[in-house]
Symmetry: D3
Subunit: 277 residues, 6 copies
């Protein structure tokens, strides 16, 4: 573990991967309050940085670059990798090799806490008429979901074997607003997302935890009761957007798989052939 | 399935059975907002109807009349039948033969969603010191409760075999106000009852669901966690009435069965002999 | 309860309904060892009787005849009613009204133990890749199965309310030999069937018990662990017949519902219209 | 059971043991509203009493004194005994012999309801990353915790055998304010403590119940869902104090047992040798 | 831990408490095969000893005597204490103070494995129609049972806190033969008892384990599935004795508590007043 | 799916990957009885083949070679890949990319049943004092175990999405004889291994099943109750070898991780750096 904060902030240096993505951009502001230095990384150029930020352009599949990126940090928020369905060879490099590289680097550099962006798509083939707790068995709805299952299994191993704690965030749909009827159930407001990361970083002991990233929406597929020790209490809800998507009667008998399973349209994706990265 | 709404309401035509009863009267107003036409039926005369209503006087035990009643509707709220303990032969006609007739008619006419008024009396022989979830085993407290178990089993079959979705509402005590100490626990306000029917009709997929119909009362015997996908969130509570019924110390050692089991006085009903209807 | 045995046999008089059916005929011999008098009944003529037997021709839907049939017996083995899928009106009379009549008669005459022939078809819509314990939820695969669910619910009520104990036997396929591949899993030998009835009659306390009637077959869908207090230990197996039905490779992708659900061909039965009895 | 209230209060006479302790002092005011007479006892001198109070100085290990103390009361709130880790011989007298004496006296004098101050230390060796429900197995974190397990077992016996109802309160940390980071999770405000005792005394049937005594804090190790029938709804939260104790980053890899287990520093107490009382 | 065997036997010195009792006498022979020296103790005179045995007359309530008794042993089979219902003060000395003394001595002398004779009476108030696994909640049927609950809780603490492993044997009825109908269910043959102790002593890791001590009897209330890691497989059965106790029909409706609960006649014992030892 | 057997054997052509390994060699004989043609493959040269065999030398990481290997087969027994801990880059190619290639090929060629050699090392970080059922959460004990978790997740996806059935065999230790004390628990005889593959290939419906590959050994960490529908009944046991490894007393307090966790020495493997294949 590296040096601690000189300024009284809780962390000396935090690493945020995937900092250029949708959720990464949301977090950058919050991280400033929690650490003297925020190291941000992405596979693409990150543009301007704030004075407390260090930018690193890193391909997660590059073991040496990852090793260097992790050096000197106190904890990691790992949003990096591919976050939609994609050709398997791409997912393999970014989400499998990349996640392995990150945990190996954490082990070598003594990092003890990682917040890992898993996904609700690790359980997307459960029906929409089920309510899952955090022990529900994996039922990935896509190759993307399969690679997130890998990340959860790998992080479990690094906890049992090396004591590196991980909170796996099974993120629902985190956008400015819900975009369709499914997101009335899966919506995670930006505010609640940030609060969830905060709880995951600051809880005294995390062990290897799984928690669904979802706001306090009226309808709900996921039950975080077993993760209550993290202290996460959502403050937002999709309620305000309910009227936008409730116009028509259900077509119970004729609904396709995208209506039957929690993963929604993900369950329809044709697996893509191996492709050049 | 019949024609859809011409006016932009979610349903073209909804059927409400038992429309002349206590709860049926509460629903009639709400249904007007959800469908162009509301067909209302009861075994007794229904009196005046609103312009959007069609009244049918139907004995549920009459197969042909039921078949006709169901024709052309998009979904059914089935409150009809006998809702208190009664001689078995009466229950048999109204709640067993009648419910079978309704589901057969739904199958023949392609209706795909039924909201079925089950009852907390399907589990009334569980002790008051238990909290039941929606998978709790049937323990009916009366012949009435047994016939509601039949309705739950029958609707499960029609879902597994024919894809007809049902939400079984295990209704607590739905009145203007709680009338006794037991109802402080079982109270379902009219507003929450209507909201529960709304969720049951409008949820995109219902499968075969069981949910307790109860407001957010301080003490609680029933846990709807596994039915959270329906989106039902009670807004009312019996709290305001708590003082009316809390005057005396418990007589723990001397309480009779009506105090020991959730079904309350139902567990004391002598079974009635077969009687003419 | 009536008089006890004069001759030292455990029971004075046992009643066997459905005595003319396949399983009834198997039991008649065994019952002779357990009771001074065996009252046998069926809706059809029973033919010659042994000296210790009393024959009664009774339609279970006839309340008075049932009341008379039950008078003076110590315990009942209730195999009567319809044991295949049939028009609902027939099932209603035999399995619903008939079972109610039997329990009412037991209550009036003080009979305290009933062995009830339920059926594996109360759970026949569970997939063949599940192993069910005795608490598995009802998923009837036919209207016949629905009426057996009714019998289980009714007997639960008579136990909770009046202390009449019932053992519900969810009988698999009880024949001389398995007749098809499904029966390699569901086979209950005649010997094991008789042993199961013996345990159900003689266990000191039965409460309201559910047990699957199945031999010790190699493949198994049902787990009787929670009914081990009954002392039932199957001695036979379908193993000896395995070669007859194992000739072809599985057609996993193309199997129809009869291969996917435990109920087998029952799940395919078209519901029959109401018919004259 | 003794005479009932003459003044219209729910109880005629309540007994409060441990009345001189921290929590006992909190309760004295509330009990005045619930009973005509409040008998208060402690091993030490209790000082001045209010007009409705009767003070008794009693060593719980003194069987005859306890017998006398219990005579004529309608219900008991048993906070007495040692509430911190201590030499085993002391715990044996106060918490084992003393609790036995109390229950024997309740049995002889016909008292039917006891609210027993158990402790979260009966489950203190569960990890801080678990959320326990009220059925979680005992894992005491200290000899003190072991003696509270004894009290829970003993009271279960007195319920099953003699029908004496007990609510076991597994009290968290009940002080004016949380005093350290652990108490942000375990905090029970005085107001919520009083409300919990009120629910435990007034619920119509309590059976043998277990409930965690904790406010509605952000992070939570304990789930009272199965005790919802008691009607306890905490109104306070440790949220307001969160900032006082959240200053530093977690030291995940290096945390000692006091950070790993719910019991906190209790798990570190060296067992003390037997000592003279 | 003391010196290891010089002769090639697995243990150097084993301690057997309660060596003068029924089960103690059965074990003495077997222990000779497993240890160079067997230290045997009891509160009464033990008579002649074999060359490999060391006899100690010890009152378990005498802390110093217990401390001395435990010195130099590798593992302990603790059958000592009172094994029937008795006045509480006697049980307190022998089973509560005595068990505490034993564990404190084990801790001080570095003994790491104890086989503790618990009892089926820790769960004796479960109904005879339940099948319990090793996680079933305590429901003691007697003060004796309550003290065995204490032993299980105490040993859990010594495992979590000090790493001392215990196997809690919830012994059924271990005699030469079953003596009544209840023992057809609870029978533990002497051979199976010895085998169970052998497994408990020799399994590489025991943690804190609970296992029911019962043979492979036809009817069964207890399920050891979660203790299968111990390797215990009963070889005997009460089957051979079944005919002795099966003569009469069940009296379902009239059975008293001794027939309703697993503890049998224990549930009827009046609690005894405190008595001089 | 390809052509069926011409000769009356159940399968026309079966594919066995990893045919050159220890278990592959055991299966070759058995497969001859089940299929006209057995295609065998391995990354190394397979030597002489029988007339009914077709040999293919294939690197599983080579997508095109795998696609060709799978063409024309009815079902697959997939033992290929790396079956010990190894550098991650090697595991990635053989067990992650290789397994993906196999399932993609199965999808394209319409193969509907795969028997997948998973491993007990997917749950190896559960303690040896636990008994796991087939729903136990993944706790891999090595990077090797993590890649087998990937295979289980991937095959779940191919079942939910494409209906390709897989039986995941969590193989224990399958050798001629147990080689150490741990293998007394994990031993799977060659005969039982072949029987398990037979059940997995021939069960009419497999869905996505998980089953532990273990013989009927005295001590047991794994419970296959939920997989009983497969019909697997082990016939062998490690009992005969028990004496070889039971010589010494347990060293409970001092046992290292290899004694504490089911994975044994696997839990000690240092993760290996990425390496060239």
């Amino acid at each position: 573990m590296s040096q601690h904060s000189l300024s009284g902030k809780p962390f000396g240096r935090l690493l945020l991967t995937g900092a250029g993505g949708n959720l990464g951009r949301q977090l950058r502001g919050a991280l400033a309050d929690w650490a003297d230095t925020v190291r941000i990384s992405d596979i693409t150029e990150l543009g301007e940085t704030a004075p407390h930020e260090e930018a690193r352009r890193v391909d997660l599949a590059d073991r040496e670059a990852v090793m260097e990126m992790v050096e000197g940090v106190d904890a990691i928020v790992h949003l990096g990798g591919i976050s939609i369905d994609a050709p398997f060879d791409d997912l393999l490099e970014a989400n499998i090799r990349g996640t392995y590289n990150l945990y190996e680097a954490a082990r070598k550099h003594g990092v003890k806490r990682i917040v890992f962006a898993s996904s609700n798509h690790v359980t997307g083939f459960h029906p929409v008429t089920s309510v899952l707790d955090t022990d529900a068995p994996h039922r990935p709805d896509s190759l993307y979901g399969v690679t997130k299952c890998f990340g959860e299994s790998l992080s479990r191993y690094y906890f049992d074997r090396f004591g590196i704690e991980t909170v796996c965030l099974r993120i629902g749909s985190s956008f400015e607003e819900p975009k369709n009827a499914r997101m009335l159930v899966t919506f995670l407001s930006y505010g609640d997302f940030i609060e969830l990361v905060r709880c995951s970083l600051f809880t005294n002991r995390a062990g290897h935890a799984v928690v669904y990233g979802v706001s306090d929406n009226p309808a709900c597929w996921w039950d975080n009761a077993k993760a209550r020790f993290l202290g996460y209490r959502p403050r937002d809800s999709s309620q305000a957007y309910a009227d936008r998507f409730a116009a028509s009667a259900p077509n119970a008998g004729f609904a396709g798989p995208a209506q039957q399973f929690q993963g929604g349209p993900f369950v329809l994706g044709e697996p893509m052939p191996g492709a050049e990265r």
